[in-house]
Amino acid sequence: MSNHSSTTKRKTFAVRVLRKDSPESESYWERHDVEYEPDMNIISVLQKIASKGESSSGKKIAPVAWDCNCLEEVCGACTMVVNGKTRQACSSLIDRLLEESPSEIVLSPMSKFPVVRDLVVDRKRIFHNLKKVKAWVPVDTYSDMGPGPKQSRQQQEEAYPLSECMSCGCCLEACPQYLKIEVTRKNGETDEAFEQRQKEAYDKGFIGANTISQVVLFNNNPTGQMNAKERTDAIMQEGGIQICGNAQNCVAVCPKEIPLTTSIAKAGRAATIRGLQRIFDK
């Protein structure tokens, strides 16, 4: 059993949160003293802060805004930077964090995505990139056509870890090549025009390890491989796999331990072959 005798005597602990009221406003730090209870995680801390409605100086405050849903690390919603490390708030256990850093726990939003408010960021770009590389199996119809192609246990065991990617963004936050793209709406701009400008901006940036790994997943699926070329072409455009600087931070921070660098290596080989093929096809 885990035994945290050093922390069980605590009455309160300090939490510092980097807040921001809106995309246009300045960020500011706010300190909270939170009552200690056993088995807490960052989610229960933020719930307590919301319920209390005041900071450590006794000032009335609006609850900290944050994203979450499943609370068991399968939905990918609650990614944030906890004590300097990008991770899921739900599986960040207070006892563990206080061992790492007994004086205080520091929460900030991911830095590679535009902040919407406080710890909430806009991760639309992740889903845009999945569209760009056609991360799906293009079946003819949803009508009953019998089972899919037979697959070996080995194929399944290679595919399964890649299909656990929950688009949480940890690998992107940790990547030196993945840079923040923030497009601000112009006065009077329509939704459509704004979205179009956003998409164009996203297309110039790096697609990131998670997207490359999804390309490998679908290119190895027996049906998905029929249009592997299209996906490989998509990761050879501007912002493609060539941007990867091999820092290998992605694989170190992935909460699902997805072999992202293995995927990047596989996709890299496919891209090289595809490059040669394109020369000969000319």
Binding site: S2, S44, E72, V74, R117, V137, Y142, D144, Q155, S163
Partner: protein, 662 residues
């Protein structure tokens, strides 16, 4: 259909399945969700999805037997035609998901592997590790993204559905919703609306459900006039890990793969579990239910674990009720291959490796069998008519309910691995019916007079403004939610007693009144989660009240609804002859109870009285005649003998009536 649009609210398995099928049929779809659809609660489903399959067929399994297990496990409270249609679609649904790239586990020969789940003796359950829900959801999410790229689907993620918009005939013509980022309230005309918004676990405070599962969307339809069925039937899952913020599910697949539930025979035995020899361990499910063992239906496993801890004082720990769920006799490699996902959850959140140490678990609120009342058109062969616009339609024309938020399929208790099936099935099956409804319409919703949509929008804007203007320092929504959760968990989960229910009805009424004075700690107009939560809390009360009233009125035991004061205990007679006599009386009482209570509660919200008006609806049991649910009951043999004699006599009394099962 070029100008017509369908609004799908909710992007879990059901909503996504409906969206992609509608898009394939050429319908333009708007898909609205509180979270990016890839983060929907369906990702939490772990164990698998059921269907009769080639392996079980060799052992005599059929779709009919899947239907039979489903209705027997559900204590016969579900209409049988929808349940039949679902069971017969099972193999087709799984084949489709296989084609969409779901990484189902494989046998050594490369066939889809299957495991056993509760309430059946066949290995019907296909699975992808222990994250089957996540894998299925992702496959559907990918397909919907494909249609989004093709321009057939428009997503509204981070939007909160506020209400259906009804025309003067009461027909649903759109929705009002709020952007959770900008807080803008907008009307969306729609030629049909499909609600696929899942369960209402948050009414109980903490449950195995995700934070989005407030039930508010269903409640908003209910308050707008849609009927709500079987609210009192809530599944409490036997095996979850208690946490401060959530009760985390430990899938039934742990038992399906051989996991054993036990407690030390000596109360709070201080030895480590490994030091306790087999004869000093009480494998209470295996001893009490020799046929099904650890895989009895969930309601039964839950009651037994509760009983062991609360009544028999055999909880593993003294101050915290829990029992062991033990996998340590299974090889590491096999555990990692088949259950890796849930073992990682236990390890991460508890700091203990469940491959080495038995897990400590306790029941938790898990699933709403009840939900929005929905219709169906029965076919000649006892299933549903494909393509009928009546299927899955709520009592409000043009408004549909699918997935966990409808009341069909699972009766009084859902079998494990049937929910993923019901979600995907209802999504796929209702889509052609909705498309046919659109074909039959003469006028497009978007061309209705603007005042219909403007009026609905401004009503909700006023409500929002009123909330934001409330004076500070009154009731706190988060604290009220906690109190509501405590009352509901105490009175309306595993064991229900009328005195406690009646007390809870008063308490919830008082909390409901207090909630009208909630003041906000955030009065801003940007990503205001405080006002969104407060609204969802306000909408929890109508469902909570309906659930309690339904439970209070239902004086019987059926599936997950267990009232000890109305239980039918086993037989006590010492000789077989005595027990047969008792069994006759037992069967008389069972028949009387069936006559009185084999009925669904159907509630209409009465805003003036702030309570539910409940009527009762007969259940269509035309396919599988109701019979006593006898898992492990003392005297089951004699009761079964008497019951089958009576059933045979009835069969003879109706000459020429074909037995549908053959």
């Amino acid at each position: 259909m070029s100008k017509q649009r369908v609004m799908v609210v909710g992007g879990g398995l059901a909503g996504l399945a409906a969206t992609m099928k509608l898009a394939e049929l050429g319908v333009n779809v708007d898909l609205m969700s509180l979270t990016p659809v890839k983060r929907s609660h369906s990702v939490c489903a772990q164990g698998g999805i059921n269907s009769c399959n080639d392996q079980t067929r060799l052992l005599g399994d059929t779709e009919w037997k899947h239907l039979d297990d489903t209705v027997y496990g559900g204590d016969f409270l579900q209409h049988q035609p929808p349940a039949k249609e679902m069971a017969y679609w099972g193999p087709k649904v799984i084949d489709l998901m296989d084609r969409l790239g779901v990484t189902f586990n494989r046998t050594e020969e490369g066939f889809m592997d299957r495991r056993r789940f509760g309430g059946t003796l066949y290995k019907r359950t296909a699975f992808a590790g222990a994250t089957t829900g996540q894998q299925l959801l992702y496959a559907l999410d990918e397909q919907v993204r494909r249609w989004e790229a093709a321009g057939k689907v428009t997503k509204y993620e981070h939007w909160d559905f506020l209400a259906p918009i009804l025309d003067d005939q009461g027909v649903c013509k759109g929705v009002v919703a709020q952007d959770l980022v900008s807080m803008e309230i907008r009307s969306f005309p729609a030629d049909a609306v499909i609600v696929a918004t899942g369960g209402c676990g948050l009414i109980f405070g903490r449950s195995t459900m995700s934070m989005a599962c407030t039930g508010s969307a269903a409640s908003r339809c209910y308050q707008a006039g849609a009927k709500y069925g079987n609210a009192e039937f809530i599944q409490v899952h036997p095996t979850a890990v208690p946490g401060a913020d959530k009760l985390r599910l430990m899938s039934e697949s742990a038992r399906g793969e051989g996991g054993r539930v036990w407690v030390p025979r000596k109360p709070q035995d201080p030895r480590s579990p490994h030091e306790i020899p087999a004869e000093e361990r009480y494998y209470f499910l295996e001893e009490r239910y020799p046929t099904y063992g650890n895989l009895v239906p969930r309601d039964i496993a839950t009651r037994e674990i509760f009983d062991i801890c609360v009544n028999e004082g055999l909880s593993v720990e003294a101050n915290k009720p829990c029992v062991y769920l033990d996998l340590t006799h299974i090889s590491r490699a096999e555990l990692d291959r088949k259950l890796g996902g849930i073992l990682a959850i236990y390890e991460k959140f508890q700091g203990v490796d469940p491959r080495e140490q038995p897990m400590k678990i306790f029941p938790a609120v898990h699933y709403s069998m009840g939900g929005l009342w929905a219709n169906y058109e029965k076919s000649e062969d006892g299933g549903m008519v494909a393509g009928s616009p009546i299927n899955q339609q709520t009592s409000l024309p043009g408004l549909y309910a699918i997935g966990e938020c409808d009341y069909h399929y699972h009766g009084a208790n859902r079998l494990g691995a049937n929910s993923l099936l019901s979600c995907i099935f209802t999504g796929l099956f209702c889509a052609p019916g909705v498309a046919n409804l659109l074909e039959s319409q003469e006028k497009v919703a978007a061309e209705y007079p603007g005042q219909l949509f403007d009026g609905a929008r401004s009503d909700h804007q006023s409500r929002q403004d009123e909330l934001l203007k409330r004076p500070a320092g009154k009731e706190n929504a988060y604290q009220l939610h906690q109190e509501l959760g405590e009352v509901m968990t105490k009175a309306a989960t595993v064991v229900r007693r009328n005195d406690q229910l009646s007390d809870a009805i008063d308490k919830v009424d008082e909390l409901h009144k207090r909630s009208q004075h909630c003041s906000l700690s955030d009065t801003g107009q940007w990503t205001n989660q405080n006002v969104t939560f407060t609204k969802s809390l306000l909408d929890m009360f109508p469902l909570a009240k309906t659930l309690l009233k339904g439970a209070f009125q239902r004086d019987e035991c059926r599936g997950a609804h267990y009232k000890p004061d109305f239980a039918m205990p086993g037989l006590e007679g010492k000789t077989s002859a005595d027990r047969i006599k008792e069994a006759e009386l037992w069967c008389d009482r069972f028949e009387e109870n069936t006559k009185k209570w084999l009925k669904s509660s159907v509630a209409t919200w009465n805003e003036a009285k702030s309570e539910a008006d409940i009527e009762y609806e007969d259940v269509d049991t035309s396919l599988v005649p109701p019979r006593p649910r006898l898992y492990g009951l003392v005297g089951a043999e004699e009761i079964e003998q008497v019951w089958s004699q009576r059933a045979a006599a009835k069969q003879e009394a109706v000459p020429g009536k074909a037995n549908l099962s053959t």
